[in-house]
């Protein structure tokens, strides 16, 4: 399958009092046509910064893309003039944000927020745009879309607002949809409605999806591949199937072990990951997970491992344990 997005060696930092916060430190991943890729990580892991860098939404200063490239359909987005980037946003790449309460404009009707992109990118006239917007609202499962078209966001519930956001993001048939924690602010019964809508859109229009989340359950439900981030780096990637069944990085294993499972009988105590993530003002020289890792070796504190292929299904892990000499190493 054709690769539509390739992020290579992306480094992003933020100017802060006391130095530079190195939020993203050498991230590589790609997204193929029609594929749903999850970027999983905890707060501060750099997953949202990565997504916002793709859309070039980060204000600079304080942010700065130090190096790397983001190739979308053969063009490096980081080199595009702002005007061309505006054409990419909304038309080629749609984005859904976490908080449907604050990311819609309260002073514009929902209909106008959907048609905005249609006027701008597709050159539609008012009647066409209105028809398309109503169709989109119906598509994402909003009842009575003709009436809803003229209403303001405040008369929508949380789940309805997130549906409206999906309608806005999909208005111009983008080939890539970036969803940044789209269901975190929603209740579980509403979450499962929204995930179903996203899955339908992916299947129907062949839209690629980048789903940014901290919820591994949501990943298992929606995504084909997973990229696990920790302290600004990709520590493991692979197909959802392999990564969950056979995690190769101690951090991934730790995350899966620390979560209680609804489908398993209770009884065993949870195994937490002790400690906290490192300070990205001064990232450690070795592996960023070293201080919390139960399997750390001497080398881990000194040298940062590479992301290396492990297993046959394209899985990769950034861990010294996969080095041929690891068996003889000093713990």
């Amino acid at each position: 399958m054709e690769t539509i997005l390739r992020v290579s060696d992306l480094h992003v930092s933020f100017a802060a009092r006391g130095g530079k916060i190195r939020a993203v430190r050498g991230v590589n991943f790609e997204v193929k046509r029609g594929e749903a890729v999850a970027i999983v990580g905890e707060s501060g892991s750099g997953k949202s910064v990565t997504a916002q860098s793709i859309m070039r939404l980060l204000p600079s200063p304080p942010s700065r893309i130090e190096k790397g490239s983001i190739e979308f359909k053969g063009r490096n987005l980081l080199k595009l003039p702002e005007r061309e980037m505006e054409a990419v946003r909304g038309r080629d790449i749609g984005m859904i944000f976490q908080d449907p309460m604050t990311s819609l404009n309260p002073t514009m009707t929902v209909g106008r927020q959907i048609t905005e992109g249609l006027f701008k990118h597709q050159g539609m006239n008012r009647t066409e745009a209105r028809e398309r917007a109503v169709e989109l609202l119906r598509l994402v499962g909003i009842p009575n879309p003709e009436k809803r078209y003229g209403q303001y966001p405040h008369s929508f519930s949380g789940g309805m607002r997130q549906r409206a956001m999906i309608a806005i993001a999909l208005a111009c048939n983008p080939s890539l949809l970036i969803a940044d924690e789209p269901t975190t602010a929603l209740d579980v019964t509403i979450q499962s409605q929204i995930l179903r809508v996203m899955k339908e859109m992916q299947e129907r229009f062949g839209t690629s999806i980048i789903l940014i989340t901290h919820d591994l359950g949501v990943v298992a439900q929606l995504c084909d591949r997973v990229v696990v981030m920790y302290a600004g780096q990709v520590v493991e990637s692979g197909t959802t199937w392999e990564l969950f069944r056979n995690p190769q990085h101690p951090y991934t294993r730790g995350l899966l072990r620390s979560m209680p499972r609804l489908d398993l009988p209770k009884g065993k105590p949870l195994i937490p990951i002790e400690g906290t993530p490192p300070d990205l003002l001064a990232p450690p020289p070795g592996c960023a997970f070293c201080a919390r890792c139960p399997e750390a070796m001497e080398v881990c504190a000194d040298r940062d491992p590479e992301l290396v292929p492990v297993g046959p299904a394209g899985q990769a892990a950034k861990c010294w344990l996969h080095h041929p000499l690891a068996k003889e190493a000093v713990r």
Partner: protein, 322 residues
């Protein structure tokens, strides 16, 4: 542990809390709750936002005044107490809040935050004794003695939640309401805090009312679980029974909506997706509040409010057809 084998520490009967919100409208946040919590037990309360679970917790510790009903703590009605007796009761009950960023006073040092209950109840005689007690509490929750002099902003979310727990335990309570104590924390930190709460329960003989929307975590920590919908308890049973044999259509849908971190299980699962949104608690549906989203609803459900009846020992459901 069920309430049957153990003396009830807390008995709640017909508890309601309505808020008047102007225009002669009433928001029925908590509507006629009846349940018991046994000594040393953890009762989980789950439900989606707006179902009244936090209001219930807050009313029981008297952060709100109830509209109707009673809550008996070791036999005495919490809502009837005044003055010195109420103050004495407040030593017995504590609360851990959801947001570790908003629930600690940023101008207080950690020592002052943790010692505030000690000061109020006059439990720390001298400055030296106060310091010693604070250090003991810090140690109990896995923090260091030198953390006492620092301020909340110097701590991570998980550490702040530990400070909140230390404060809750300071006056030596028997009963702690944990209102979403882990939902603001990262996954890898959640397990740390839950394990801490479980250890403290064992070592100090605490009783918990554990309010959360994360059903997997509630299953893990609770002995019994109550499911709330629109201000009412719709189902209450021992944890294994509720998760293994849910009888209320809402409980079934809620459990089926939780994603499981295993792609194989996810691929094979049948999922009940509820249509529509939560109705407003200002003008709840007639009869059964869940009927507007229930796949099995009939005319009877609109006409009659279902009784909260016991269908098996210890398993109660509010549904005509359970």
């Amino acid at each position: 542990m069920s309430a049957g084998t153990n003396r009830a520490l807390l008995e709640v009967n017909g508890l309601s809390k309505f808020f008047h919100i102007g225009n002669k409208q009433t928001l029925r946040a908590v509507d006629n709750l009846t349940f018991q919590v046994g000594q040393g037990e953890t009762l989980g309360v789950v439900g989606e936002s707006g179902c009244g679970k936090s209001t219930a917790g807050r009313t029981i510790v008297r952060l709100y005044e109830p509209t109707a009903g009673e809550a008996r703590f070791l036999g005495q009605n919490i809502f009837k107490l005044k003055g010195a007796k109420l103050k004495a009761l407040r030593r017995e009950m504590a609360m851990v809040f959801q947001d570790p960023h908003a629930s600690l006073n940023p101008r207080f040092s950690v020592a002052d935050i943790i010692a505030e209950p000690l000061d109020i109840h006059g439990l720390a005689g001298s400055a030296k004794e106060r310091r010693k007690k604070v250090e003991e509490l810090l140690d109990k929750v896995g923090l260091r003695p030198d953390h006492a002099a620092r301020y909340p902003h110097e701590f991570s979310g998980g550490q702040r939640q530990r400070i909140g727990i230390a404060r809750a335990l300071a006056a030596g309570p028997k009963f702690v309401v944990c209102d979403e104590p882990i939902s603001a924390l990262d996954v890898s930190i959640q397990a740390q805090v839950v394990n801490l709460l479980k250890d403290l329960q064992r070592s100090m003989g605490l009783t918990y009312l554990f309010i959360a929307h994360d059903l997997s975590m509630v299953k893990h920590i609770s002995d019994r679980v109550a499911v709330m919908y629109l201000g009412k308890i719709v189902e209450l049973a021992e944890s294994a029974e509720l998760y293994g044999n849910p009888k209320h259509p809402y409980t079934q849908a809620l459990l089926s909506a939780i994603p499981i971190p295993d792609p194989k299980v996810e691929a094979e699962r049948e999922r009940i997706v509820l249509s529509g949104d939560l109705p407003s608690p200002i003008n709840p549906p007639s009869g059964c509040a869940f009927r507007t989203r229930c796949p099995y609803a009939t005319e009877k459900c609109a006409a009659e409010s279902p009784a909260f009846r016991e269908i098996r020992p210890g398993h109660r459901v509010a549904c005509h057809y359970a």
